[in-house]
């Protein structure tokens, strides 16, 4: 017995009418990627706490300086190196906010100061409260710029390099090697001569090679993902390069991207402090959290408040960024979508 043969010819097939936007249509009730991510982020307590702390510090950076009657460069040698003293908390001695220094002497009494300096004063008698919050403004800006540079230049560069591979990858990677090989310090010292110190020069210095770490990480991850099945599948389905990179590869690299960013931020904050120190960064008397830590470090054993308070703010910021970052990663990770 034989069944009648049916010729399989091309006429029997016709292209499915799939509109571009329906290509990956999801059967369950439509909920956008971002909306879903937001829902999941909100459920993550650590991430929410992180977000709240960041917002609070950012707000204080602008409100804080208004709360003190002293400007950030109001010097008075009669009130140098006062420890912190806060109304109401001054009677709880273990908090260390009673104006008594490490040797047990009430410096406010000794120096006949009636004012309360919530964060104490520095070696020139300047109010640390104002200086720290103004410094926080600068450091937040630096952190923001560093993150943007990483995200814009680093991801694009690394993505293109790995995705196209071959010659492109080869040349792009050799270029990174050259950038890192030329001593940074030489370039920075030359910049100091040409540029006026300020935010612009800090950004230029960071833009030169601050993003290379991110570029290399993204490249490594995309190299790894490029050969995997889902990429092949997507390509078979007719996805173009752009779509492949933005819809499939980048979302899968988010974890390392977020971590690298959280590394970049403290590095940038201290890089700025280093630049200020050699004259390229902010011009004194302007301060940043990084430069306040640098300045206060030497007197850690005798005036600990000078270093501890800005350090605590940096650490708080960093921990919050990381908690938020981890939350974001979980929220944005396509694999964890339920």
């Amino acid at each position: 017995m034989s069944l009648p043969k049916h010729e399989i010819s091309t006429e029997l097939f016709q292209p499915a009418q799939v509109r571009k936007e329906n290509k990956e249509v999801i059967a369950r009730p439509s909920i956008s990627f971002w909306k879903d991510a937001w829902i999941r982020l909100r459920k993550n307590k650590a991430a929410v706490t992180g977000l709240i702390i960041i917002v609070f510090i950012a707000l204080m950076a602008f409100i804080g300086p208004q709360m003190s009657k002293y400007g950030f460069n109001d010097q008075d040698l009669m009130r140098v190196n006062l420890p912190p003293k806060v109304q109401g908390l001054e009677n709880i001695s273990f908090l260390g906010l009673d104006g008594v220094d490490i040797r047990g002497m009430d410096q406010y009494k000794l120096k006949q100061q009636k004012d309360y300096f919530w964060f104490g004063t520095d070696a020139l008698g300047r109010d640390q409260w104002t200086r720290i919050w103004e410094g926080t403004q600068v450091s937040l800006l630096i952190a923001f710029v560093a993150a943007i540079l990483d995200l814009l230049i680093g991801i694009t560069y690394g993505g293109i390099s790995a995705f196209y591979g071959g010659k492109t990858d080869n040349y792009m990677q050799r270029f990174i090697e050259i950038l890192i090989g030329i001593p940074n310090l030489v370039i920075i010292i030359l910049l100091i001569l040409i540029l006026k110190p300020g935010i612009t020069s800090i950004i230029i210095a960071m833009a030169i090679s601050g993003w290379t770490g991110m570029a290399r990480i993204v490249r490594a991850q995309i190299l790894k993902l490029k050969g995997q099945e889902f990429v092949l599948a997507s390509r078979t389905l007719g996805a173009g390069d752009k779509r492949l990179v933005s819809k499939h590869l980048i979302p899968n690299v988010l974890g390392p991207i977020i971590i690298t960013t959280t590394f970049t931020i403290p590095t940038a904050i201290f890089f700025e402090a280093f630049l200020s120190f050699i004259g390229l960064g902010l011009r004194p008397p302007t301060a940043s959290l990084g430069s306040l830590v640098n300045e206060g470090f030497r007197s850690l054993q005798i005036f600990p408040h000078l270093m501890l308070i800005p350090s605590i703010i940096i650490s708080l910021l960093m921990i919050s960024f990381n908690m938020l970052g981890d939350g974001l990663r979980d929220a944005l990770d396509p694999k964890m979508r339920k």
Binding site: Q75, A123, L124, L193, G279, R283, P285, R298, S299
Partner: protein, 561 residues
């Protein structure tokens, strides 16, 4: 493919472990016993060991007498070498290799008598020829030592080192002659009064020709490629790490030398230095101003005032500073007393003068005796009225200037204070800080690209001239377009006419008065001090005002146990 990968990995592991092995091998070698360990001091015999432990901030760049040019090297050379004379406790020159000297009537020819028992550490006698050889080697056109200029008072030196001069490179024309092995005759250009003190400076030390030539390229690069004639010899030199000086048995005055051993470790961080001091691994530590508050009640705390001056240089290329009233206003606008007490806090003294106190004297009278308090002391009201007068002449009511400073933490702190003081006393003034690394700052200063600058100067020799000749018209250290004929003339006559030293003295005092009182060319700030901790058992380490910082020849340890 798989196999090749495996071998590759194995090769990697092998390289890695070899590398580690090589490193740890290197470590073992370095393990040889060190005299000063953590507890080394406790286990030693009660008979007071004469060991001094010190630290230095940097590796020694060069111990070649003809090339040495930095404080750390001068410090070592001063203790392992010896010139004709050496400085004592009060910076007075005392006989070194020379047992005595005679000066001709016109004060230009010095005849030094070299002692017969002066020996090199290899047993060779130190002779007058060693000095001649050393000076020739230093001034030779191939040697290019940067301290050649300090010999400028000797006859023909400035011609020998000037390429434009027909005498360029002809060292045989030098005014230094060995009459015989034990007689050295030095002829000067002018009868300068400070020459004997100058012979204690490292560039004036002798060198052993036979030894130098036998070492070739290696000369002075290691402890054993150098020969010594001072109280100590360098017995060990681990680059970037440490060096050790031990008593020199061949030294003519070895009976006065009490220390057996001086260990110097390279420590760049003050915090580390203090931690070493507190664990008894270091006997002397200099404190930066940040640490003074912490240690000023410590029993070991000391301050000493140095002969280094700090001042503001105001660049007259800028029309604002061309105005003398503005300069006077700047000189009087800063509360220097509070500055030295609260910010520097290290023995620095507020100064309204350029030539430091207790630096030079004539017949027991200090240079400062005539104008004891200097000129233009702090006076906010007067500063303000001078400032307003200046602004009126400039037809301005607002002035913005840039303040060039070094990039160290302490100078930035000081500059921040000075800027705030100036802005407070002088309404309408805006000061912007411009911190720069050392070489950049020097470059900007040399090109005259600055408004005013925080600058300092330490003496090269014991005469007020080392400070005062800086600001002559077009002088190498002027760089602020200051020019005053009267001042120039006074300096010139003090340099060339040394027949009446008392008159010269008064001329120099007058030159300082013109510079500061009439012209307010610079605004003096303070005479630098240094805060330090010294262990109480360290005795008789002498501090010098110029040249090398310390002498250990007479030092000893007492009461350590």
């Amino acid at each position: 493919m798989k196999k090749s990968k495996l071998t590759f990995l194995m090769a990697l592991t092998l390289i890695f472990s070899l590398f580690l092995a090589a490193c740890s091998g290197g470590k073992d070698e370095a393990k040889d016993p060190k005299p000063e360990g953590n507890d080394g001091t406790k286990t030693e015999k009660p008979a007071e060991p004469q060991v001094l432990n010190l630290t230095e901030v940097a590796e020694l760049p060069s111990l070649d007498v003809s090339k040495a040019e930095d404080a750390a090297s001068f410090q070592v050379l001063n203790n392992v070498m010896e010139g004709l004379y050496r400085l004592d406790k009060t910076d007075k020159p005392v006989p070194g290799v020379a047992e005595s000297h005679e000066v001709s009537e016109d004060g230009k020819v010095y005849t030094f008598k070299i002692r017969k028992d002066a020996k090199w550490s290899n047993g060779d006698p130190v002779t007058a020829k060693d000095f001649v050889y050393s000076y020739h080697r230093t001034l030779n056109k191939d040697s290019a030592g940067s301290y050649q200029y300090i010999m400028g008072d000797i006859k023909n030196v400035n011609k020998i080192i000037n390429p434009e001069d027909p005498m360029y490179g002809k060292v045989e024309e030098l005014g230094v002659v060995a009459k015989d092995d034990h007689t050295l005759e030095i002829t000067l250009e002018n009868a300068v009064p400070y020459f004997v003190g100058l012979t204690s400076f490292a560039t004036f030390y002798p060198q052993n020709q036979k030894f130098v030539e036998s070492q070739g390229d290696k000369y002075a690069l290691e402890a054993n490629t150098l020969v010594y004639n001072g109280p100590f010899v360098l017995s060990e030199w681990k680059h970037e790490e440490s060096w050790k000086m031990v008593k020199n048995d061949q030294y003519w005055d070895k009976d006065s030398v009490k220390l057996d051993e001086i260990n110097v470790n390279v420590v760049k961080d003050v915090g580390t230095d203090l931690n070493l001091y507190n664990t008894n691994q270091n006997d002397l530590v200099g404190l930066s101003s940040e640490y003074v508050d912490q240690y000023k009640d410590n029993a070991d705390f000391k301050t000493e005032t140095e002969a280094t001056m700090w001042y503001l240089k105001m660049n007259q290329k800028n029309p604002v500073f061309k105005n003398v009233n503005v300069r006077k206003a700047f000189s009087q606008a800063i509360d220097k007393e509070s500055m030295v007490k609260v910010i520097l806090n290290n023995g620095s003294v507020a100064a309204n003068y350029l030539v430091p106190a207790n630096f030079t004297n004539i017949d027991g009278e200090d240079f400062r005796a005539k104008y004891k308090d200097g000129f233009h002391a702090f006076d906010a009201a007067k500063a303000k009225s001078d400032w307003e007068a200046g602004l009126k002449e400039l037809k301005k009511d607002k002035v913005e200037v840039e303040f060039l400073v070094g990039d160290t933490e302490s100078s930035i702190k000081l500059a921040t204070y000075i800027a705030a003081q100036l802005e407070k006393s002088l309404p309408g003034l805006k000061v912007t800080l411009n911190p720069q690394p050392f070489k950049n700052r020097l470059d900007l200063e040399n090109k005259g690209q600055y408004d005013f600058e925080l600058a300092g100067w330490g003496p090269d020799y014991q005469d007020s001239m080392t400070f005062l000749d800086m600001f002559v018209t077009d002088g190498g250290h002027n760089r602020m377009e200051y020019s005053n004929k009267k001042y120039d003339d006074l300096i010139k006559s003090a340099k060339t006419d040394l027949s009446d030293l008392k008159k010269r003295w008064e001329n120099l005092q007058e030159a300082e008065r013109i510079l500061l009182e009439e012209d307010a060319a610079i605004a003096p700030l303070y005479q630098r001090g240094r805060a330090l901790l010294v262990k109480p058992y360290v005795k008789d380490v002498f501090k010098h005002g110029f040249g090398a910082d310390y002498s250990y020849k007479w030092a000893y340890i007492e009461g350590k146990q």
